[in-house]
């Protein structure tokens, strides 16, 4: 498990995460929040999920386990999973 090192503020980190979601899923930044869930919107399906994972791995320079890729069912869940890779919010 490759982990992440960063010292941004919590707020900046959250905006940064939301920005990755916004770009990868092609959704306005204003629509990204913790409750946004996989499959709840058309633009976040199994196909766009792959692009999201690639974007997250690139942004945080980490490599997610497949179980974590499968379990990443919401933005909030993404935060919990990323915490395992030392990305805290």
């Amino acid at each position: 498990m490759k982990k992440y090192v960063n010292e941004e503020s919590s707020m900046t980190k959250e905006v940064s995460l939301f920005s990755v979601f916004s770009t990868a899923l092609d959704i306005p930044l204003s629509e990204i929040n913790d409750q946004l869930a996989y499959n709840a919107i058309k633009k976040w399906d199994s196909i766009s999920h792959m692009g999201l994972i690639v974007a997250l791995e690139k942004h945080y320079n980490i490599m997610l386990d497949t179980d974590d890729i499968i379990d990443m069912s919401s933005v909030l869940k993404a935060k919990e999973i990323l915490a395992k890779y030392d990305v805290s919010f």
Binding site: Y38, N39, D45, S46, I47, H49, M50, V54, D65, T66
Partner: protein, 195 residues
């Protein structure tokens, strides 16, 4: 070689459907969430299910598997010879084209990236072990999720039929997948399957 009753790979296990699986599979298949994506949406009775099982048990042209993930059954995947030739490779007229079908019943994994794991596992088996040349899938025209899923695997739409009398008149599209196209398209999926 004869078609395997057990195929493992990419974090999932594909087990040939047995008599003990029939009722579970029947209930899955009759669930409106699943049946609405099927060409035939009629309810399946216990008797029909038994009759279907008797038919497929002796049929060398098709194989149906229960998909297991972390030892739990989550869905069904199947393959059928398109030309009517046996799926077994030692057969005189080996099958060149195979039709694939799959559904994930477990809500936790429906529409999830996990669905690529059994698809890639059986696709690899068809191309590499059965020496199949082309895969085929029939999808309801309105099933955008399945069309996008198949497209991500490299399938291309080869025909559209809009005069279907079943499946609520939605029409069907036929998608086909060559080995070359599959190898190119599945590469980015494989990079994320790290089991």
């Amino acid at each position: 070689m004869t078609v395997s009753a057990l195929i493992e790979g990419n974090g999932v296990t594909l087990k040939a459907i047995e008599r003990a699986d029939l009722e579970r599979v029947r209930l899955w298949r009759n669930d409106p969430d699943i049946s609405q994506c099927m060409v035939s949406q009629a309810l399946i009775s216990e008797k029909q299910q038994l009759s279907w099982f008797d038919t497929i048990s002796d049929d060398k042209c098709q194989q149906h598997y229960v998909i297991e993930f972390k030892s739990e059954p989550i869905g069904v995947i199947n393959m059928k010879s398109v030309c009517g030739a046996s799926l077994n490779r030692e057969s005189l007229h080996s099958c060149r084209q195979i039709e694939m079908g799959m559904y994930i019943h477990d809500e936790r994994y429906r529409g999830n990236f996990l669905a690529f794991c059994p698809a890639v596992t059986l696709n690899d088996y068809c191309f590499d072990q059965l020496s199949c040349e082309k895969l085929m899938a029939r999808v309801l025209l309105g099933n955008e999720a399945a069309i996008r899923f198949n497209t991500a695997l490299g399938y291309q739409v080869t025909s559209e039929k809009s005069d279907a009398t079943d499946a609520q008149q939605q029409g069907l599209i036929t998608m086909t997948l060559s080995k070359d196209n599959y190898q190119v398209h599945s590469e980015k999926i494989r990079r994320l399957i790290r089991y």
